[in-house]
C-alpha cells in the first residue's frame, strides 16, 4: 500500500478528517519465538465473523514490546501506527483533534489510531497504562463487538476496518494510571515479554550494528553483566546495550566504563560496611 494513499483526507459524516502517515521503519524480531507466536495467535482471524483480540504486551522498559508488535504487524502485511500515550492524553488526542488553522477554521486531524481504523492497519498504543480513564472510556466500543469510536469534538462515528488490529504495550514503570476494570476485561490476552538471553542479545546488537565486531559486542554485554552483579544497576535494557555499543564503537578513545557510566547514569555510592547483628531469644 502506498503511503500517499494512506495519508489522504477522508470525509466522515460531512466532516473532512485528515489521516496520518503510517510508520515506515523496518522491524525485525530476533529470538523469543514463543511470544511472537502468542501475539500472532491473538491477531488471527479465520472468518469474517471472527473477532480479533486486543492483546496487551507487558514487560520492563526496553525489552522490545513495541518492536515485537510492529514485527508481527509486518508479518501480517499491515501498515503500523505507533502512538505514545501520556498521562494528560485526552480522548481528542487519542481520536480526532480539532486544530485551529490560519484562516480561523477548525481542522480535524485523525490520530494514528483512527488512521489505522480507517486504513485497516495496526495501531500500537505504547505505554498505554499511562492513559487516564477518560481516554480509555473513549475506546470501550472499539474494543468489543461494536468496533467503532465516537469523536465528541468532531461529532463523528467511525467504524473500524475489518482488518484493523490494536495492541497495547505496558511496562512495569510505576508512574501510571490504573486501567479500568471494564477496559481490562476487553484487553486479552496479556502477554509477558521478557529480556532476551545473552545469545539473543548478541544477535540483536549485531543486527542493528553489523559493522561492530563480535568481540566488541561480547565486551559490552560482559561490562553490563558486571555492573549488574556489582549492584550498580538493577537491570539493563536492549536499548542500553545498543546505545553503549554504538557510542563506544564511535568513540574508541573512551573506555567502556566511562561510556557506560554516562549512558546508564551510574554514580559512585558509599560502600556500606556489613556488620553482624546479634539477636537474642
Amino acid at each position: 500500500m502506498e503511503t500517499t494513499d494512506l495519508s489522504r483526507t477522508i470525509t466522515i459524516d460531512n466532516i473532512a478528517v485528515n489521516l496520518r502517515v503510517p510508520d515506515i521503519s523496518d522491524y525485525y524480531w530476533i529470538g523469543q519465538k514463543e511470544v511472537f507466536r502468542l501475539l500472532s495467535a491473538a491477531w488471527l482471524k479465520m472468518n469474517a465473523k471472527d473477532r480479533i483480540m486486543t492483546p496487551v504486551l507487558i514487560g520492563p522498559p526496553g525489552c522490545g514490546k513495541t518492536t515485537l508488535a510492529c514485527a508481527v504487524a509486518k508479518e501480517f502485511q499491515q501498515p503500523v501506527y505507533p502512538m505514545n500515550c501520556t498521562s494528560d492524553m485526552r480522548p481528542d488526542d487519542l481520536l480526532i483533534t480539532p486544530v485551529i488553522a490560519k484562516d480561523s477554521q477548525v481542522l480535524y486531524r485523525a490520530s494514528g489510531l483512527v488512521s489505522a481504523m480507517v486504513n485497516g492497519g495496526v495501531c500500537v498504543l505504547d505505554e498505554a497504562n499511562r492513559m487516564n480513564e477518560k481516554s480509555w472510556a473513549s475506546l470501550a466500543a472499539l474494543l468489543d463487538d461494536r468496533r467503532y469510536i465516537e469523536s465528541i469534538s468532531s461529532g463523528t462515528k467511525i467504524m473500524a476496518h475489518p482488518e484493523f488490529r490494536l495492541v497495547a504495550t505496558m511496562n512495569d514503570d510505576s508512574s501510571t494510571f490504573t486501567v479500568p476494570e471494564y477496559i481490562e476485561s476487553r484487553l486479552k490476552p496479556i502477554l509477558p515479554v521478557e529480556f532476551p538471553s545473552v545469545h539473543e542479545l548478541k544477535e540483536i546488537i549485531a543486527y542493528h550494528m553489523p559493522f561492530v565486531t563480535p568481540e566488541h559486542i561480547q565486551a559490552v554485554i560482559q561490562y553490563l553483566d558486571d555492573q549488574k552483579q556489582r549492584g550498580s544497576i538493577t537491570s539493563y535494557s536492549i536499548r542500553d546495550a545498543i546505545n553503549i555499543t554504538c557510542f563506544s564503537s564511535k568513540n574508541p578513545n573512551d573506555t567502556l566504563d566511562s561510556i557506560g557510566r554516562t549512558i546508564l547514569k551510574i554514580h559512585d555510592r558509599p560502600v556500606t560496611v556489613k556488620k553482624s547483628i546479634f539477636i537474642g531469644i
Binding site: D92, K134, S175, V179, E181, K188, P189, I190, L191, T272
Partner: protein, 620 residues
C-alpha cells in the same frame, strides 16, 4: 507381488500416536469389517504380544511397556494400535504384530556393548558423546540422537484422520533414514508380504510416519531380517501425573474417550467442559469465550485444529490468570483410573520406537500464592487471632535531621512512584490549545475577553498512594539490641511482643505525611522494620496502628495500604509473604528494595527523637 493385487488386499489405517480421533477411526473400521475375513496387522513389536494384551486388559488403568533401551509403548485408551488390540480381543479376529524389537541395529553384540555403556555412564551421556564411547551415531543411532536435539515435525492437523487416510499428506519415504529405522521398515514389509500372500485381506494399523516407508519396501526385493532377539521389556504402572508425559493427547480426554468409547469424539465439547467446569465463579463468560478463541488460535499457529494441553493452559494463563490456568491444568492432567497409582519407571526418559519423545515437551510457568488461605482457614484465623486494640500512646518530636530525611525520602518517592487519578471534584483552568477537555470555562474566558483567548476546564490529577517499605532484610550500620525486659513506656505504643526482631513496637507519623510503622528502638534511636506511609491520604494514622500485625508485618501492612490508598507500592525482598487476591491484586505493585536507590532507601531507615511530649497536638 502385483501392485494392483496389493492395493486390492491391503487396507491401511494410518494413525498419529495417542490421538483419540485415530483410535475411534481404527475401532470403527475394524468393527465395520468384523463380519468379513481379514487379518489385522499392527505396527507393534512382535514378541510383545502377550504383554500388550495383558496391559490392554487392564485398561482403563493406563500403563507403559518399557524396554531396556528406554523405548516405551503407552497402553492408553486413545492409542490406535492399542484400540486395535482391544477390538481384536472383543471380536476374535486374526492379529499379527509386524514390527520388530530390534536391538539398535539388529546386531546383538552392538546392543550389549551399548547397554553396558548406558548402564555405566547414563544414556544421555552416551548419546550426546557417542563417538567417545565408540558408537557411531551416523550409522547406528542417528534417529535417536536427532530426536534428542530436534523437534517432531508432524504434518500438522493431526486431529483429522480423514486427511491422514488420504495418503498424499503422509511423510514421504526418505532414503537417508537411519539403518535402524530402515531395518524395521524392511522387516514390516516382509511380514506384510507374508500376510498378503495368503487368501485373506490385510488391515494394517500403522503409524502415519511408517506408511510410505513400508509401501516403498513392499516393492523391493528384501533380505530376511534376524528377529530372534527381543529386548527385555516389562509392564510398568504409571502415576496420574506421568500420563501427561506418555502421549500428546490430553489425559482427561483419554478418560472421556474411555467413558464414551463407542460414541464419536467430541473434542470441542470436551474443551468447553474443561474451561467452563472449573470452580471459578468470578470469571465472566466473556473471558471464558476469549480463552476458548485464543486456545484455538494458538492451535492454528501450531498447524493444528485443536489445542493440545500446552495451548489450552497457555490460553487460560494469558486470557484469565495463573490461578485459573492451574485449575485448568489440574483438570486436563487428571486421569481418575490411575489416581492412586505410582509410577514404576521414569516415564519422562522414555521414547517411542522411533526414538522421538512420547509426550508434550513444552513448558509453561504458572505462579500461584502458596500463602493463600481458603475462606474457611481465613475465617478461623480471624476468630483465633483477634486484632488487638490500641491501649495508649505518647508523642515525641524527631530531630530536625530526621524530619528533613523524611521530606527528602518522600520527595523522591512522590516523583518516581505515582498513581495518577483524575479527581472527581477538583479541576484546573487552562488556555485552549487543542481539545475541549471538560468544556469551556466561561468565567475565565469572559475575564480574558480583551485578549481574545478561550479557557477550558481540565480535571485535576490526584496521587493517592501508599508506600510499604520492608526494611527487615536490609543490613544495618549499627546493630539492633534486644529490648530490655523492663522496658519503659516511652514509645508510642506499648507492646510486649518481640517475635519479630525489627518489630518491637508500633509508631506513627502525622507531621508531614501520615504513616505507621513497626520498629525496633534503643533509647531515643529508632530503626524501622516495616513502614507504611501515605501520600494524598488525609486519614488519621493512629487507628491504623491497630491494623498492623506483629505476626504478619508485611501482609498486614499491604492490607492497610489497600484500605486507605488507591495504589500500593510494596518494596520488599520477601514478596512471598504477600498474599493479595481478588480485586486488590492489581492495586498492589510489588518491587524489590533495590528499586529505590540505596541512598534514598537508607534515609528513612533510622531516626532519632529529640524529646518526648506530654501534649497530644498533631505533628510528628
Amino acid at each position: 507381488m502385483d501392485q494392483s493385487k496389493i492395493n486390492e488386499k491391503l487396507h491401511i489405517l494410518p494413525y498419529v500416536p495417542g490421538i483419540a480421533e485415530y483410535a475411534a477411526q481404527v475401532r470403527k473400521e475394524i468393527l465395520d469389517r468384523k463380519d468379513s475375513d481379514f487379518t489385522l496387522a499392527i505396527d507393534l513389536p512382535h514378541g510383545l504380544e502377550n504383554q500388550v494384551i495383558s496391559a490392554a486388559k487392564m485398561l482403563p488403568k493406563a500403563s507403559v511397556i518399557a524396554d531396556q533401551l528406554f523405548r516405551g509403548i503407552p497402553i492408553i485408551p486413545t492409542s490406535a494400535p492399542v484400540e486395535a488390540v482391544r477390538s481384536f480381543q472383543e471380536s476374535g479376529i486374526d492379529m499379527r504384530f509386524i514390527d520388530t524389537s530390534l536391538p539398535v541395529t539388529g546386531n546383538l553384540d552392538d546392543y550389549r556393548y551399548f547397554t553396558d555403556q548406558c548402564r555405566l555412564s547414563g544414556v544421555e551421556a552416551v548419546l550426546k558423546n557417542a563417538q567417545y564411547y565408540g558408537i557411531s551415531p551416523k550409522d547406528i543411532l542417528r534417529s535417536w540422537v536427532e530426536a534428542l536435539h530436534g523437534e517432531n515435525n508432524s504434518g500438522g492437523f493431526s486431529h483429522l484422520p480423514e486427511l491422514a487416510i488420504g495418503l498424499a499428506r503422509l511423510p514421504k519415504f526418505d532414503n537417508q533414514i537411519s539403518t535402524y529405522l530402515q531395518t524395521r521398515l524392511q522387516y514390516m514389509a516382509i511380514q506384510l508380504k507374508e500376510l498378503l500372500s495368503k487368501e485373506t485381506d490385510v488391515v494394517l494399523v500403522c503409524s502415519a510416519s511408517h506408511v510410505n516407508g513400508i509401501r516403498h519396501f513392499l516393492d523391493a526385493p528384501l533380505e530376511p531380517v534376524d528377529d530372534r532377539f527381543v529386548v527385555p521389556s516389562r509392564i510398568c504402572a504409571v502415576s496420574e501425573d506421568d500420563i501427561l508425559k506418555m502421549s500428546p493427547e490430553v489425559p482427561f480426554f483419554m478418560y472421556l474417550y474411555e467413558l464414551f468409547r463407542d460414541t464419536p469424539v467430541e473434542r470441542e465439547k470436551w474443551i468447553s467442559h474443561v474451561y467452563c467446569g472449573t470452580d471459578r465463579t468470578d470469571i465472566p463468560a466473556e473471558k471464558i469465550r476469549v480463552t476458548h478463541q485464543y486456545g484455538y488460535n494458538l492451535a492454528l499457529t501450531d498447524k493444528e485444529l485443536y489445542p493440545d494441553i500446552y495451548n489450552l493452559v497457555a490460553a487460560a494463563k494469558y486470557c484469565v490468570d495463573d490461578n485459573y490456568a492451574v485449575k485448568v491444568f489440574q483438570k486436563l492432567k487428571s486421569y481418575p483410573p490411575n489416581e492412586r497409582t505410582s509410577s514404576e519407571c521414569s516415564v519422562k526418559n522414555l521414547y517411542d520406537y522411533n526414538f522421538m519423545p512420547l509426550g508434550n515437551r513444552r513448558s509453561l510457568t504458572l505462579t500461584v500464592s502458596a500463602f493463600y488461605d481458603s475462606p474457611e482457614i481465613s475465617k478461623l484465623r480471624r476468630k483465633i487471632f483477634r486484632p488487638s486494640r490500641s491501649i495508649c500512646y505518647s508523642r515525641w518530636t524527631r530531630t530536625l535531621a530526621s524530619q528533613q530525611a523524611e521530606l527528602d525520602f518522600m520527595k523522591y518517592m512522590k516523583s518516581r512512584f505515582t498513581a495518577l487519578q483524575e479527581s472527581s471534584e477538583d479541576y484546573c483552568v487552562q488556555e485552549f490549545s487543542s481539545g475541549f477537555y471538560d468544556g469551556i470555562d466561561i468565567r475565565e474566558t469572559i475575564r480574558n475577553k480583551p485578549f481574545n483567548k478561550m479557557y477550558i476546564r481540565k480535571p485535576a490529577v490526584e496521587n493517592r498512594v501508599c508506600y510499604v517499605i520492608d526494611y527487615r532484610s536490609a543490613d544495618l550500620s549499627v546493630p539492633v539490641h534486644e529490648p530490655a525486659l523492663n522496658r519503659k513506656q516511652g514509645s508510642i505504643q506499648v507492646s510486649l511482643d518481640t517475635r519479630q526482631r525489627f518489630c518491637q513496637t508500633k509508631i506513627f507519623f502525622d507531621k508531614n505525611y501520615p504513616g505507621v510503622s513497626l520498629a525496633a528502638y534503643e533509647d531515643k534511636h529508632y530503626t524501622l522494620g516495616v513502614m507504611v506511609t501515605f501520600v494524598g491520604v488525609k486519614d488519621d494514622p493512629i487507628p491504623m496502628m491497630d491494623e498492623l500485625s506483629y505476626s504478619y508485618p508485611l501482609e498486614s501492612a499491604v492490607k492497610l495500604g489497600t484500605k486507605y490508598a488507591k495504589q500500593v507500592f510494596v518494596f520488599t525482598d520477601s514478596p512471598e509473604e504477600i498474599a493479595v487476591t481478588g480485586p486488590d491484586k492489581k492495586r498492589v505493585k510489588v518491587l524489590p528494595c533495590a528499586a529505590i536507590p540505596p541512598v534514598i532507601y537508607e534515609k528513612m531507615r533510622e531516626f532519632d527523637i529529640d524529646y518526648y511530649r506530654t501534649d497530644d497536638k498533631r505533628g510528628d
